[in-house]
Symmetry: C2
Subunit: 293 residues, 2 copies
């Protein structure tokens, strides 16, 4: 196997296990994060700390970012001491965050000016997928760039799909998040009515989960809703952010997304009620509380 | 096996294959339908025609109805020449239609007065489940009544769940339909944005359908959306009706169902645009057309 010099910036719930899988696979890893303590376990695995994104980029052939939102990626990629200030010509910058497709296209242009290749490559599969290395990766950008970094991406995901030009990876991820968001709302509203009407929710789940109402969300989040287990998983604030990106993209594409707009507002209600850092399944509790039941 | 005298009223997309499975299992079957021609294949299988619901009931120990909506069931059960005018004391009336839980409870009272036992026992699993005899049946009413008719129900379904008292079967079905309706909308909005943004929809489906966005609807209806196959399946008009029932029930239970209300209106848009008899997947076409894309 070729050994790559990989840089990784953003060591949160998703980033840290992804980075860990890259170092486990035998690549050289340089890491940076706003909070240095988040790198401790990786440094123990053999990763090396760098004091800035620029320094990470300077030491790497492949630079990966896994950050919360578009402004974070723009700052780390193009701000002070940024990736593009340190990156060598011919290196590849892979942004695996979920951000705006438009920002991804803008980053591709900036990278091109600096002689750096760019891919947008957001993932689905959650923390479990990140830990197991079984993420699904949706890639936007030139296929030849994807082929260059494929051995590194294969450390973190087991399904790598080339979706099209720059931005197409982010657009695919956004469509995924629309479906996820509405499927969560579906579970919440179905179970909220059942609860208020006095049905036994576990009995109901058993009766319906293998039929036409079945979904990953019903199988994985509904049991947590019934146990009042609000630990993330995937956080309310991020789901709200992803639906905001969906609506911004829909605005640009002139597509009316009535259901998505409503789901977005309800996730924002959950955030406003102080549940931004809880798992998305807490929307069930919020909808129940709207009914004062 | 005990041979039952079973009556079956309502021989539509669901009712006919369900009745067929009952006669195939060796029970005596008496049938009635508004359109006599719909009984032809059953009569060829050995079923016997009756000219009215009263006559069906008079000849049966177990009377099953499978009709579109609450008024149809009320008419057939309590109107002129109705089930309750013909039914013998001690017979069991099982309504397998999807109707209002409140109407189900009212029917239970009327049946009790007439010395007839009642169950609400709506199903999920669609036309395929009806043909294969693999429906999931959600039952409301006394367990001892369910046990009496279980051998007949086992001819049409392979999962029979006792949900609670009269009406609880219908309430469970309504919760199921809330989840189904929002999961359909999820697929439509996710794919509509993807289509407008120029993604290859088949590639997208492969990338996301085994992840957190996965659902029965995404696996079964999204491929039909991509092929512009609008054949039912489950009809738009019935999905709209079921969400109307959901909202009526939510009104009674004082549960605000914001997403369900929006999904209901969008299915009504599809109905208003002349797609009431198309499969629910046609909502994709409607949402695409709203964007004029």
């Amino acid at each position: 196997m070729d050994k790559y010099n990989v840089g990784f910036i953003g060591l949160g719930t998703m980033g840290r296990p992804m980075a860990s899988n890259i170092v486990k696979a035998g690549h050289n890893l340089v890491v940076h994060s706003r909070t240095r303590a988040k790198a401790d376990s990786l440094l123990a695995q053999g990763a090396v700390w760098a004091d800035s994104p620029a320094e990470v980029a300077h030491r790497s052939e492949v630079i990966i970012t896994m950050l919360p939102d578009s402004p974070d990626v723009l700052q780390v990629a193009t701000g002070e001491n940024s990736i593009l200030q340190g990156a060598k010509r011919g290196s590849v910058f892979v942004d695996m965050s979920t951000i705006s497709p438009e920002v991804a296209r803008k980053l591709a242009v900036e990278c091109n000016r600096a002689g750096v290749e760019f891919l947008d490559a957001p993932v689905t599969g959650g923390e479990i997928g990140a830990i197991k290395g079984t993420l699904s990766i949706m890639v936007g950008g030139p296929i030849k760039t994807l082929e260059k970094v494929r051995p590194v991406l294969e450390c973190v995901g087991n399904q790598i799909t080339h979706m099209g030009d720059h931005g197409a990876g982010q657009t695919a991820k956004i469509c995924n998040q629309i479906i996820c968001g509405l499927n969560i709302l579906a579970c919440c509203e179905g179970l909220a009515l059942a609860a208020s009407a006095g049905l036994d929710l576990n009995t109901l789940l058993r009766a319906i989960q293998n039929g036409a109402a079945g979904s990953w969300m019903l199988s994985n989040l509904a049991p947590k809703m019934l146990e009042a287990d609000w630990a993330p998983g995937f956080r309310i604030a991020l789901q709200a952010k992803d639906l905001r990106l969906a609506l911004e993209t829909a605005e640009r594409e002139k597509v009316p997304l009535v259901g998505t707009a409503v789901a977005h507002q309800l996730f924002k209600v959950a955030e406003a009620m102080g549940c931004g850092d809880k798992g998305t399944q807490v929307l069930f509790k919020i909808i129940r509380s709207l009914g004062c039941a």
